[in-house]
Point group: C2
Chain length 130, copies 2
DNA sequence: CTGCATGCAAAAACTTTGCACCGCC
DNA sequence: GGCGGTGCAAAGTTTTTGCATGCAG
């Protein structure tokens, strides 16, 4: 994989934020550094980087996929009110792979999990309204 | 919500199968009963039914969303080889909500999880090849 | 009748891809 | 120079929506 300024820029941006941005958001935020970059290039590089494991692709219910440069296993929270995606500080749930494998004839390699509810901000506002 | 033959048909079909079909698959399979039904109607009803909690929408990494008439909490397995989606027989992991809530200021309402690996069929074929 | 539901087709939303050109090594 | 990467635009895929019409209550 050759060096490319665009890919570098994407990776830098992704590492600089905890927002789990979408391809579109990344595109907009690196345009100052890469005035001529195209959205297609952003997608191509995001796909590439996640294939080689340098970043992680996050797919939730709604909206476009999001990306995360934090490849240490961790879990995500999605706010059902404002849509924010946050990292959760919690231990690995690797034990649940065993639970899943228990009555299963195939092999369990891994799992994907996310949690949802109200984020700290929205929870605060809701409690005020009551 | 008024009665509609189309919605009834979608629900019936979904309840008759364990395949977790996509909107497209549902559409194709109920055409014999509903020759003039449109894909838009299928989507509209699937959205409606999942909003009122009569069915469940499943979003995985790739491909279109899938739907499940089994609304008893349960988990899914996705085969990384053939793409099959299977139900897992395992207990609820509701305890993981507590783990997630532990260092978190917001509220955890629920979680979504799926497991991936090789399904019984693919696992069998792979072990033969070795 | 009144309003929700439908069929149809267009469009929206998101992502991938073909192609000619460009830049890394 | 060769090969991988890019920009651009077109096309692909999945889902939603506007509108006129149809059916349930």
């Amino acid at each position: 994989m050759n060096y490319s300024r665009q890919r570098e820029s994407i990776l830098q941006y992704l590492r600089s934020t905890k927002c789990h941005p979408t391809a579109e958001t990344i595109y907009q935020n690196i345009q100052s550094e890469n005035p001529n970059i195209s959205l297609g290039t952003v997608y191509r590089n995001l796909t590439l980087l996640s294939e080689v494991g340098q970043i992680q692709k996050l797919t939730f219910f709604d909206g476009p996929d999001r990306y995360d440069a934090n490849i240490v296993p961790h879990y995500h929270f999605v706010c059902t009110k404002c849509g924010a995606v946050l990292d959760l500080e919690m231990d690995s749930l690797s034990h649940i792979n065993l639970l899943a494998a228990h009555n299963f004839e195939g092999t369990i390699e891994n799992h994907m999990a996310f949690f949802y509810g109200k984020c700290p901000n929205c929870a605060k506002h809701i409690s005020k309204e009551l």
